[in-house]
Every structure is written in C-alpha cells, then in structure tokens.
C-alpha cells in the first residue's frame, strides 16, 4: 500500500520550473534588431547665426560702454583675437591644415578666457574665417570659444566676402 502511494505521488509531480525558452526567443530576436537600428555615433548641433547689423542693435540698446565686439580672425598662418579695448593676440596657425593642432587650440582657449575674465558677461564672439578655411577648423574654433565661455559664436567671411 505505501509503495502504491509513492508511485501515485511520482506520477502527479508537477514541473514548477519557469518556461524561459519563449522569452529567450523573443529577446534574442529583439536584441539584434535593436542593435542594427541603434545609432552609436551621436549627432549633436551647434546653434549659430550670421552676424546681425551692429548699428541696429546698438541703437536699440544704447549701452554706456562701447561693445567688446570680440572676434577671432583666421589669417594665413595666424589666428588673431581682436576686440574693442583688447590688444590683438596672435597665435600661430598651420596654414592649409584642415584643423588647428591641440597646442593652438589650448592657446586660443587660454587667450579667450583671459579676455572673458576681464570682461565678465561676454558671451558673443565672431569667427572671421577665410574663404578657403575648412569646415572642421571653423568648428574647432567654435569649440575653443565655447570652452572659454563664449557660447554665442557667429560666423563671418573675411574682407571681400563679408556677409
């Protein structure tokens, strides 16, 4: 009799393990699909504009002090930082290079920081590039300006092609 009961118990034993295989199948199908459509290179943006008419804004605001009008010029083998009441700062540039080297970028950031520390609240800068300046170099200059706290960078063409 006790032997019979043990047999019945064996026959009625229910497998309580979770059935993970269907879930596994879904996840294994889902992961490659998501990975294939994922974007690993993040695209960001730099907001910019063309320089506005200085006379119009000056007339509207009528500031007590003349505006700083800070600008970074790209000129042949040089970067020149100029502004109202700021002694021009000259930094060497590799002519024809598609982007400034790290030493030049560091010098630019340091020089621009020195200007912004003397003129707190300054956030605007003009990047005045030559017609043949490469886009990567323009972006690198905007990065340097932003690192120095000049978050509003406007792009401008040098001399004859000025907008």
């Amino acid at each position: 009799m006790p032997r019979l009961r043990r047999r019945e118990q064996k026959a009625l034993k229910v497998n309580t393990d979770l059935k993970l295989m269907p879930l596994m199948n879904i996840i294994i199908a889902l992961i490659p699909m998501l990975l294939l459509s994922a974007v690993f290179l993040e695209v960001k943006v730099i907001e910019t504009s063309l320089p506005r008419d200085a006379d119009a804004s000056a007339a509207a605001a009528a500031p007590a002090e003349p505006p700083l009008d800070l600008a970074v010029f790209v000129r042949g083998g040089l970067y020149v930082i100029q502004g109202q009441g700021v002694d021009p700062i000259v930094i060497a540039r590799r002519p024809g290079a598609s982007a400034p080297d790290s030493a030049a970028v560091e010098q630019l950031v340091r020089a621009l920081r020195a200007v912004t520390s003397r003129h707190p609240g300054t956030t605007e800068v003009r990047i005045v590039a030559e017609s043949r300046t490469r886009y990567q170099e323009v972006i690198a200059l905007m990065d340097a300006a932003r690192a120095a706290g000049l978050v509003e960078a406007a792009l401008e063409g040098a001399a004859s092609e000025g907008v």
């Binding site: 998501l34 994922a38 993040e42 943006v45």
Partner: protein
C-alpha cells in the same frame, strides 16, 4: 526482490543534472543588454544619419538635434533633404552670395510648412530652424553662401550638425 543500490551511486544520482541548460544567467545578460539598448533610444534627441559622402566634423557640442529642414553639403554639391539642388560649382559661381536653386527649394519647403501649420491651426512662425550637415573638408565660402541663403529664405536659426567627440 529489488536489489539495493550502492551508496555512492545514490549520491551521484542526486547531484547529476537532468541535461537541461541553465538559462537564468543568460537571461540576466540579455535583459541587461535589452535595457541598455532601449535606454540609448530614449536618451537621444532627434535621430539622424548623415547622407553618404558626408563626414561630419567632430565637436564637444552637447545640444541635441531638433526637427528641422536639413541641408547637406558634400564635396560635390548641396542637398535639401535627399534631393540634390545644386553643385558646388553652381553654388560658388557669380558674385552673389545667394544660391538661387537652393533659395527656390527652401521657399517651397517653407510654403509647405506654413500650409501644414495653418491646417493644424498654429500661428505663422516668423523664423524657422535649419540644420546644416556639412562635410569636414568643405570650404568656408560654400558654408557661408548656404548660411546666407538660409537666412534670406526665412531660416535665420541655423544649427551645424556635428559628431560628439568621445
């Protein structure tokens, strides 16, 4: 009469698995991976892929991309969306900074946007955002002309698309 099994055999039977895979640890890995991939979708802004032939410059900019008109500039020409509207030679020809074919297509795009806004009952927007996806090697004079054309065509807010530096 049943013969009694030796002691060590009984112990072996107790500890031997039934041959099934242990899936719990694999499930843990896959679930973590799934959350990681889903998170990368949630945190990103507007997802965009630069057109073939355009290598975006690298920058430490942090601002996310917003829905806007996209003008792509590669070494051969200028594209509005997926349509090529002008070649580099055409864009740089003449003394005028305005690129006529691009301006024409932008005017059409703007008119379409205004129509859509009207249908949705939104007020007319004075200025609109445009994103430039430029190749690293394009010259500034070309970028400048595209920016000038965008500004004159009612897109004064310009965003330059870049790849985030690692």
């Amino acid at each position: 009469m049943r013969r009694r099994k030796p002691g060590n055999t009984r112990i072996m039977e107790r500890y031997t698995s039934d041959g099934g895979l242990t899936l719990t640890s694999m499930m843990d890995i896959l679930t973590t991976l799934l959350f990681f991939v889903l998170k990368s979708y949630v945190t990103g802004g507007e997802v965009t892929v630069p057109p073939p032939g355009v290598t975006l410059p690298r920058s430490n900019a942090r601002a996310d991309m917003h829905t806007s008109v996209v003008v792509a500039i590669d070494r051969d020409g200028i594209m509005l969306g997926t349509e090529r509207v002008a070649t580099v030679r055409e864009a740089l020809a003449g003394g005028d900074l305005l690129i006529a074919p691009l301006a024409q297509r932008l005017a059409e795009a703007r008119a379409q946007m205004d129509d859509l806004d009207r249908m949705k009952g939104k007020a007319k927007t004075a200025s609109r955002l445009a994103t430039i996806q430029g190749d690293t090697e394009i010259e500034f004079r070309l970028l400048q002309r595209v920016m000038y054309t965008l500004d004159r065509s009612g897109f004064p807010d310009i965003a330059l698309a870049v790849l985030k530096k690692a």
